[in-house]
């Protein structure tokens, strides 16, 4: 379980997050949505222990403020919204660097499996900085997965926090990555992901949190959160939420405003 209690974040005297309070269960995919600048990444950075905040954040009942960097690294991995790699490290080396506590022989298997998982095994020896944007994003995802490869540790969940993991992927890899998350959650791990694609969110997420101006507008299942009124208000544009005739799945069509 990941819990936040009245988390507030202030940067340069500006309140970026106001009293965020929610419980994220492990074994499920939880998506954070909201317009640009609403505070999604800031919230994730607070939960990752990257920035200071008021309030409390617990992962598996432990206050993260009292955990060392290496203790956190053992139970959660983070995919930032933007990442760059300095120096000509290869793809395999990038993932290897992320695995500071592993032993030599299992490391090779782990790198292998993680790259296989995101379909990049053939690029293992290529220089990271020469890959395309989408390939780099998948390498970073592989690094995150490798860090917390088995989703459970002594019966409690490990976590992956992903900031827009599919933002530069083509449609087939978007589905592939969503399936990877699904699989991780099914095996008991916790998944918290920031999403801009509302359709993928509706399709895969078990819970959705909607952020707006630094506040958590609502938190619940996709069908609770994603309706015309709430989404249109949050994103300040007309959004029509539809259901598929066959199986009542939600899908969203943006409405062009000038026709």
């Amino acid at each position: 379980m990941l819990q936040t209690h009245d988390v507030c974040v202030e940067i340069n005297k500006k309140k970026i997050l106001k009293n965020i309070k929610f419980d994220v269960p492990a074994g499920k995919i939880t998506a954070l949505i909201g317009p640009n600048g609403s505070g999604k990444s800031t919230l994730m950075r607070a939960i990752s222990g990257e920035i200071s905040y008021q309030g409390k954040i617990f992962i598996n009942e432990r206050d993260i403020n009292f955990m060392k960097a290496w203790e956190l690294a053992a139970i959660r991995a983070v995919l930032p919204q933007n990442s760059s790699v300095a120096f000509p490290f290869t793809v395999a080396e990038v993932i290897h660097i992320g695995l500071r506590n592993s032993t030599e022989s299992s490391t090779d298997h782990l790198i292998n499996d993680a790259l296989d998982c995101v379909g990049l095994l053939s690029l293992a020896k290529r220089e990271y900085s020469q890959l395309s944007g989408g390939e780099q994003q998948r390498v970073q995802l592989a690094r995150v997965l490798a860090q917390v490869w088995s989703p459970l540790i002594d019966g409690s969940a490990k976590w992956i926090f992903l900031d827009e993991p599919v933002s530069s992927l083509d449609i087939s890899y978007q589905l592939e990555v969503m399936n990877i998350m699904q699989n991780y959650a099914d095996r008991g791990g916790g998944v918290l992901t920031i999403m801009h694609d509302l359709n993928l969110t509706a399709m895969y997420a078990d819970n959705v949190g909607l952020l707006h101006n630094g506040k958590l507008l609502c938190f619940g299942t996709p069908s609770q959160v994603m309706n015309d009124k709430i989404l249109s208000e949050a994103y300040s544009c007309e959004i029509k939420v539809n259901k598929t005739p066959k199986n009542d799945k939600i899908f969203i069509l943006p409405q062009a405003t000038n026709t």
Binding site: A77, V78, S83, A86, F89, G98, D108, H109, A124, K125
Partner: protein, 357 residues
């Protein structure tokens, strides 16, 4: 089936780490070889081979031979080794810290800051409280050079780095400004210097090993050893830092500690090198770059390999400086600049091609 999988996996990291470890051995041997070469060469016609022969046959050396080899060439060789290693290592650590291959203690003002510290100690030594000078003794100049380098690195890092990302432009420009400021203050102090101090100061501008002596070797050697010991342990952390400061923290690195230690190691290595040999430029940028090209960017081996190659290159540059205009001697800083400046431009260009600006 298992065997094929095993061998496929084994190659995935390309075993560059092992190559890097092997390079430690090869470079150490090369350094020994270059060292013998350097002992054998000089304006005085004393050959190392004849001396080795005499030593083996238990014959006595003439006092001239003894002085030239043991009091002139050997301390110079050892000092060159220490300084070359220190400069190259502080370059490698600094580039890891700034996440950029263009960071070099000479180019961005840290050597100038260390030089200012040394000049303050020499010129204003009289007004430094007596108990400090007596505690520090021979280490006074070195210590002040360290302080100067440390302050400069700290200021530079604070100015050039925002949210874990270093702006290359800011780093270079701020470095130029800090270097100019340190140079200007040093210039003012030089006016205040008396004749003896002036003589002490001249070699800083040139950057030279000509002042090598056993006294300097015994001061600088152990301190540089400590700095290298610190620097080598930063390898893991600097690798993580290459993925960005945030990611380094996420994978379990105590980033603030890492940065403090890296700044300390850079300032110590640069400060000591500058205190004993003045501002020898470009070693810190050329050497790590070469090692990265040859073996790869893994800091776990890069730092030691840079130290070894830095020592080799500086000792060779020193040999060149002694023979190229013999019997006169060229300041070694000129040689390193002639080799280093084009390499710097090359890195700059290839960096721009990759769109890192």
């Amino acid at each position: 089936m298992w065997a094929t999988k095993e061998s496929k996996n084994k190659s995935i990291l390309a075993d560059k780490y092992r190559v890097g470890r092997r390079a430690h051995v090869i470079l150490t041997l090369a350094l020994l070889l270059v060292g013998c070469f350097s002992l054998a060469i000089g304006p005085a016609n004393v050959s190392i081979w004849s001396i080795l022969k005499k030593l083996m046959l238990n014959e006595l050396l003439t006092s001239l031979e003894y002085i030239i080899i043991f009091d002139i060439r050997l301390p110079r060789l050892l000092l060159g080794t220490c300084v070359g290693a220190a400069l190259a290592i502080s370059g490698a650590v600094m580039q890891g810290l700034f996440r950029n291959p263009l960071a070099d203690p000479g180019l961005i003002g840290i050597s100038a800051g260390a030089g200012l510290g040394a000049i303050i100690a020499i010129v204003l030594g009289g007004i430094i409280p007596g108990f400090i000078t007596s505690i520090l003794g021979n280490y006074l100049v070195v210590f002040f050079a360290f302080l100067g380098g440390w302050a400069t690195t700290l200021i530079l890092y604070t100015v050039a780095t925002r949210r874990g990302q270093t702006s290359v432009a800011t780093m270079l420009l701020a470095g130029i400004a800090l270097g100019a400021l340190a140079g200007a203050i040093s210039g003012i102090l030089v006016y205040k210097a008396n004749d003896q101090q002036l003589r002490d100061l001249t070699f800083w501008g040139l950057g030279s090993l000509a002042g090598a002596s056993w006294a300097k070797v015994t001061v600088a050697g152990p301190l540089i050893g400590v700095a290298i010991f610190f620097a080598v342990r930063l390898g893991h952390g600097l690798n993580a830092l290459a993925l960005g400061e945030a990611t380094a923290a996420h994978i379990g690195v105590a980033t603030q500690n890492l940065k403090n230690n890296a700044i300390f190691a850079v300032a110590a290595a640069t400060g000591i090198a500058v205190a004993v040999s003045g501002g020898i430029g470009f070693i810190g940028i050329v050497v790590p770059h070469l090692v990265r090209q040859l073996i790869g960017p893994d800091h776990r081996t890069l730092i030691v390999n840079s130290g070894l190659l830095g020592a080799i290159i500086l000792v060779l540059a020193d040999v060149i400086s002694r023979i190229i205009v013999a019997p006169a001697e060229l300041p070694i800083g000129i040689i390193t600049a002639v080799i280093g400046a084009p390499v710097f431009l090359w890195i700059l260009l290839s960096n721009r091609k990759e769109g890192n600006w």
